[in-house]
Symmetry: C2
Subunit: 356 residues, 2 copies
Amino acid sequence: MTISDFTLYELQKATRNHGMPLEGLAYDVTPIGMHYVLVHYDVPYVSATTWRLQIDGRVARSLVLSLDDIRSRPRATKRVTMECAGNGRARLTPRPRSQPWLEEAVSTGEWTGIPLASLLQEAGIHDDAVEVVFTGLDRGEQQGHQQLYQRALPVEEALRPDVLLAFELNGIALPPQHGFPLRLIVPGWYGMTNVKWLSRITVLDKPFWGYQQNVFYRIAAHEDDPGIQLSRMYPRSLMIPPGIPAFETRERLVPPGTITLRGRAWSGWAPISRVEVSADSGATWAEAELGAPSGIETWRTWSFRWTATEGRHELLSRATDAAGNVQPLEPVWNVHGVANNAVQRVIVAVRPDIEG
Amino acid sequence: MTISDFTLYELQKATRNHGMPLEGLAYDVTPIGMHYVLVHYDVPYVSATTWRLQIDGRVARSLVLSLDDIRSRPRATKRVTMECAGNGRARLTPRPRSQPWLEEAVSTGEWTGIPLASLLQEAGIHDDAVEVVFTGLDRGEQQGHQQLYQRALPVEEALRPDVLLAFELNGIALPPQHGFPLRLIVPGWYGMTNVKWLSRITVLDKPFWGYQQNVFYRIAAHEDDPGIQLSRMYPRSLMIPPGIPAFETRERLVPPGTITLRGRAWSGWAPISRVEVSADSGATWAEAELGAPSGIETWRTWSFRWTATEGRHELLSRATDAAGNVQPLEPVWNVHGVANNAVQRVIVAVRPDIEG
């Protein structure tokens, strides 16, 4: 517990954005309003009647669609686990100054919309298409760049049948902070991909260059390092907080005895194949029992029987996916503080005076 | 911008609780999921089928009610502006260590439920009743006190016809983080009054003593000062953030020219009677135009035409209520950091290169 000295600039983001309280891991689908929110600039005020989606660039027919146009097409619903690329940033030293997530920036939503591929096919995407750019209505200035929020996908990802343009979350119209009226949903990719307040989709015959694509959301050792552009989520496991909290520290208080620890794990690269638990700060590990298999789209449950003995314990869980990706024990630093999937450490005080 | 050095303990609260992004001031009713959330301990996992509400103490007939029992009674819907008592805490020096709100912990919800008075009358409240205690299902330890969250109301407040036991927010079942399945709603009072995950209502023939009543939620100069127990919200005005944000500082960027500043003001003591705006850090003030009158239950809109000239400006707005309460220009310190309703200061950089 040595990290501290958060700045006002970090706090201004932390009080308006929010993670999922980790009690939310108890739900297969995160309840409405509990889904994590990261708004890059402001939540724009969008009128459903005047809003239009424009599809242009390397297509045979540009399209301009109203929300009713979009809602009248064949729809699909997908359950998708989404994590912010900055999750874990606040655990890095020195700490990159942005939204200071600990490990709570993940949730699972049930998104309803239309397949992106169907619209691109309707527009007649040209054979020379390379990337597809998504422009949102949120606007601001970052490192001196005045911009609308924009991100791109390689054309083969954009044409995946599971990629949606979503207008509902958990069965109700998208709330403003989740991208009303329309949001891109790309299962398996970090949250920054899922452009909110979508207003334009542009097909390019060359790679896109953009601030949020080439500058911010990459794993880089320093500002001039081109690094790796972020895409899919690296594996992570989180635990439902056992027992009750101490208000001041949020450490967990548990009575002695055997309890079942439960959690969820996910990876955008391959299905989760293994979760291990350590109840002694990582000295020894044992296999957790895994719930029903899930793909890369949603988190997988796990459980572990633990005999809690009086005293303080540090509980860890570590996820491995079928591609062999495994969570590191310690954070790996990078200049923007992204993709830190180091294992979570849960401090538990086991005390006989705690009521079960 | 001198406040800093936030601790991990504060950040752990700030990343799970959340304010309303101030763009949310644009809506009469805060959209679902954008309403501020302050969870004192954990969000309990409650089963709607096994949950019961118990009403006991100084009543003729104790009642035990299921959610269906409650939902089958005559219902009422109320629009209520609610603010956390800790709003503004992070602006105090030295800073009390708790949820570090800046000024975003306020929202307006449309709550549907049954009048509390009707249930108390059905139970047959005794003439010697003095206070009514509300017990929630969230449990934790604070300053060494292991407890369920509890708050009390004087019996005359509990019998007000506008006090609700709410089971819906904005027309849908209460989300877990807002108190599913049932929450007390007391218009005009600070958020800590509106007990979530309500499980028991107990009528007492003497004043209640409780940690959240007598220790935490009071305006006190030091820990041993009995101070003033919090009840109603003191007046405050907030501004919809003009222009676009700078990502790093969240300062506002605006092109030169005349713009309309807009905001909302509220008070739990009396209707808002006046809002003044200063565009020069408080040196001079002018009257804002007020929207339709509102009572103590909901916020009132205001607007102000401002001619933005190139350079940096500090914009202030100050609310006064019909009881003569007015916002202070500087925070007034107290040991738990509650009820800090000092005026908001919005930094705006007016630059010709900003697009309108």
